[in-house]
């Protein structure tokens, strides 16, 4: 079995090989990509936990190591599943798209090497190094999308730079205070460190990298532009997987340095730091949900839903009791799969129709039924409706919040989950159902190669929804490793102190109900099949049925309630223009002046130095 370091090296070299291969032939390069990534998935799948490797050395006395932990392995498997499916999708997708295929494939591999390193690094600095490689890889791909994606790439890098540099600042202050960087040692030192302020500072700064990357409240503005405008298949990787790197760092900041032991409990066993982070999660749920309801561009809509689900994961992880933590981790899996699935179906829609605006489309179900099925199961899981896996994690988070008695957070999570019915339904009604536009009448279903990964996602979601044992087992092993009481579950029954339910009985009962309805449907006379334009129009004769489609301003009545909502993007743009103004001011004052200006500055410096010295 190839060791991890060689695997990462294989990917680094692989990115150059795939550049050359895709230069030769697009399809060959993408197939090479897919094979390499699925090989990585195979290696990561059966790697032994606790396996440790030594890497290069940067700072003198601190050893750089890669170590396989349950947490890292879980995140790596989820990410690699998503990326390998998307890589399979790209084999066909890349043919028609006008992006630079060679660069796309090679940077994808570069990013995957970074991701592998992040999940298996055993100390803060190695994690930072691979983190930056992953950011670099993804940064290079994002601008290949629409015109707006050029600006989006900059915003993406700057926000993630803010997060990772605060993380670096904390890493160095730990290194300077304790001299060590690996997670176990740091958590021991932190445990018996006296100054509360230092602990607060360190954990908040480390968590800030997670906050920036998974689009939590203060640093969430980049998600809309980046996911909305990145190349379609890549936004599936972006929101399905890259956001999870942020959740991984949040998981580390919260559970590996166990905040529960570090700080005294503030509210029902939840320390104040967790409470603050949970409240950041809450605000991002609110922002994500309410902004998603307003969007007309379907990709930006799901980007906002990623913000909301990032908030869910943070709330789940923040509660730190056995159910809540398990809920957060399970939601990582669900959101990764659901978001990837939805974005792939959008990629398929854009592959055929070329537009992402909801109101420019309609009735695509009659031409692209399988894409519709993927999208349907995707939103059922994203919205958290029982037969699919999405519900399990939301159920866990709800029951942990109820048992902790945090009712405002509970109310906000309810708003989030019911709100998700609203915003997932908007593209469903606007894009797939309703009247088929004349210009889309000759749209065909996407080729088979693109359909296979989408349908595999569907099967995976329903399978895990009915039989969540594999995911629950790995979560139990993580919880034991991190020192939280593991949740008890037996295959399909999930037990909590508040109550339990059985995924299998729910599914069988649902199918029984479905069969009863089908029997009733069969017994009675068959309805006459009528085509789409035969509608009740209230006695009016319609010439152009394209207009007879309700999609623009789908929730206008509720949007009107919060039209004047505070926009953080404008706030940050004002901040940037403030910096720009300072730059302009100095440029005009010091650099662009006449010679007398220069002499003026020299005399000023002399006077200051004289005055300071004597």
């Amino acid at each position: 079995m190839i060791s991890l370091t060689n695997l990462i090296l294989v990917f680094l070299i692989g990115s150059i090989v795939s550049y050359l291969l895709t230069k030769a032939n697009k399809i060959l390069g993408s197939i090479f990509n897919f094979l390499l990534i699925s090989y990585a998935l195979y290696v990561v799948w059966n790697i032994k936990v606790g396996h440790e490797e030594v890497l290069f050395r940067i700072l003198r006395d601190v050893e750089r190591t890669l170590k396989v932990t349950n947490l890292g392995k879980y995140f790596a498997i989820v990410s690699l599943i998503v990326i390998s499916f998307v890589a399979f999708f790209i084999i066909e997708w890349i043919r028609k798209k006008d992006i630079k295929p060679a660069a796309f494939n090679s940077f994808l591999l570069l990013m995957v090497s970074g991701i592998l390193g992040v999940f298996f690094s055993n100390d803060l600095l190695t994690l930072y190094i691979f983190w930056e490689i992953a950011v670099l890889g993804s940064f290079l791909i994002v601008p290949m999308g629409k015109k707006e994606s050029k600006r989006a790439a900059i915003i993406y890098v700057v926000t993630s730079a803010i997060g990772s540099y605060m993380y670096l600042f904390a890493t160095f202050s730990i290194y300077q205070r304790y001299g060590i960087l690996s997670f176990e040692q740091v958590s021991q030192y932190l445990a018996n460190d006296s100054s509360n302020l230092f602990k607060w500072f360190v954990i908040l700064f480390i968590a800030s990298a997670g906050i920036a990357k998974s689009g939590i409240f203060p640093l969430h503005t980049w998600l809309r532009i980046t996911h909305g405008n990145a190349p379609d298949a890549f936004s599936a990787v972006l929101s399905g997987q890259l956001v999870k790197m942020g959740s991984y760092v949040l998981a580390i900041a919260l559970s590996v340095f166990p905040t529960t032991q570090l700080f005294s409990s503030f509210y029902h066993g939840v320390p104040l730091l967790n409470y603050v982070l949970i409240w950041l999660g809450n605000i991002s749920i609110l922002i994500g949900t309410f902004m998603a309801i307003r969007q007309n561009d379907m990709k930006q809509l799901i980007a906002f839903s990623s913000i909301a689900n990032g908030g869910y994961i943070l709330v789940g992880l923040g509660i730190m009791n056995s159910i809540g933590y398990a809920g957060g981790l399970f939601h990582v899996f669900n959101h990764a799969i659901a978001a990837a699935m939805i974005f792939l179906s959008f990629a398929a829609v854009v592959y055929r129709t070329g537009t992402t605006k909801i109101d420019e489309m309609g009735g695509l179900i009659w031409r692209m039924p399988w894409t519709f099925v993927t999208y349907l199961v995707g939103i059922i899981s994203l919205a958290g409706i029982p037969p699919t896996s999405g519900f399990i994690s939301k159920w866990m988070i709800f029951s942990s919040l109820v048992s902790k008695g945090m009712f405002i957070t509970l109310a906000i999570t309810f708003i989030g989950s019911v709100g998700s019915f609203l915003y997932v339904f908007r593209p469903l009604a606007g894009v797939f159902l309703g009247q088929l536009k004349r210009k889309h009448s000759d749209v065909k279903e996407v080729p088979i190669i693109m359909l296979v990964p989408m349908l595999l996602f569907v099967i995976l979601t329903i399978l895990i929804g009915v039989y969540p044992k594999p995911v629950l087992d790995s979560i139990v092993s993580i919880e034991n490793e991190v020192g939280i009481k593991a949740i008890e579950h037996s295959g399909t029954i999930i037990k909590t102190p508040l109550g339990q339910w059985n995924t299998l009985t729910v599914f069988t009962m649902f199918s029984v109900g479905f069969i009863i309805a089908a029997i009733l449907y069969m017994i009675f006379p068959k309805g006459k099949k009528v085509d789409l334009t035969d509608q009740y129009t209230g006695g009016e004769y319609l010439y152009n049925y394209d207009l007879y489609h309700y999609a623009t301003g789908f929730y206008r009545f509720i949007e009107r309630l919060y039209d004047k909502h505070p926009s953080f993007e404008k706030l940050y743009e004002k901040l940037v223009s403030f910096f720009r103004y300072i730059g302009y001011f100095t440029y005009k004052l010091v650099y662009k002046t006449s010679p007398s200006g220069y002499v003026f500055w020299i005399t000023i410096v002399i006077l200051i130095l004289f005055w300071v010295r004597w």
Binding site: P386, Q500, G513, A517, G527, L532, Y550, L561
Partner: protein, 293 residues
């Protein structure tokens, strides 16, 4: 054994539901000083509709209705009717509320699949209204869960040894009842169906068999919503007393809906998030502080 219990639950749902709907039409008529149709009128409507030959708008239209009816039947199976519990131990409150969403989503998808914009507007209103009433309802229920430390509905019912939860947490009860009105889609909150504005909303393209199936779904969903309210708030009851309490709640709801005009959709959401939500938070604060009667 469970199969028998499930069948019993479904049959009660069917018969009791339809008869009560008939009675509701009778009460509505009496309030409007007319006699109104016989109590078994709903049975006739359902069987008449099912026997006719209607029109279908493609496979998604049919699939949507099947999913709707299937989802609601599944939800009904989990709901304990007094002491008649189909799946003891597995009837978790969140399961019931969210499994109910499967039905709603199926119906929504099928209706919008018909291609008629009235249906889409109706469904958009239904979802918005759901956003309105669901949050205060769940917060109030969460207060009850937190107090009794269990989230299984039959457990909640059994926990009301000394007094009904309605008397223990009156404000919670009121909030739940107001949200119940929203769920039922009765008069003050029937903007999604609003016959005058959007040609009875989602049901615009339904005819014959599909209309019949939707009526069934409607009865079952009403049955689920009210039985949830009865189980949680109106104390321990065996099968008969459960049905009695059920009819009382149903009559009160019909009386209220008989006299109130329809809200506009923004007013529904604004109302739900002003009055019931703040009441729910007050109730939850009382539960946290332990001020429970």
């Amino acid at each position: 054994m469970t199969v028998l219990r499930v069948i019993a639950v479904l049959l009660t749902g069917f018969f009791v539901g339809l008869t009560l709907e008939g009675i509701a039409r009778k009460i509505m008529a009496r309030v409007q000083r007319r006699y109104g149709p016989p109590w078994y009128q709903n049975f006739i409507d359902v069987f008449k509709a099912l026997s006719k030959r209607g029109i279908s708008h493609g496979w998604i239209f049919d699939f949507g209705i099947l999913m709707a009816l299937g989802g609601v039947i599944a939800t009904l199976a989990f709901v304990p009717l007094g002491d008649l519990v189909a799946f003891p131990g597995l009837d978790n409150i969140f399961i019931i509320v969210y499994l109910f969403a499967v039905g709603a989503l199926g119906m929504a998808m099928g209706m919008v699949g018909s291609g008629n914009p009235n249906a889409s507007i109706g469904v958009a209103r239904a979802l918005t209204q759901m956003l309105g009433y669901e949050v205060p309802y769940l917060v109030a229920i969460a207060g009850v869960l937190y107090y009794y430390k269990t989230s299984s509905v039959s457990g909640l019912m059994m926990a009301q040894q000394d007094t009904w939860t309605l008397f223990k947490m009156p404000i919670g009860g009121i909030v739940a009842f107001i949200s119940l009105l929203g769920m039922l889609g009765k008069k003050p909150f029937d903007t999604p169906i609003a016959p005058a504005e959007i040609a009875s909303g989602p049901m615009v393209e339904l005819s014959a068999k599909y209309m019949g199936l939707l009526m069934l779904m409607h009865t079952f969903s009403i049955f689920v919503e009210i039985s949830l309210f009865v189980d949680i708030f109106l104390g321990i009851s065996n099968y008969l007393t459960f049905l009695l309490k059920f009819t009382v709640v149903w009559i009160i709801a019909t009386l209220i809906s008989a006299v109130l005009p329809r809200f506009r959709i923004e007013q529904v959401v604004k109302f739900y998030w002003k009055v019931p939500l703040s009441l729910a938070f007050v109730q939850v604060l009382f539960v946290l502080l332990g001020w429970v009667f």
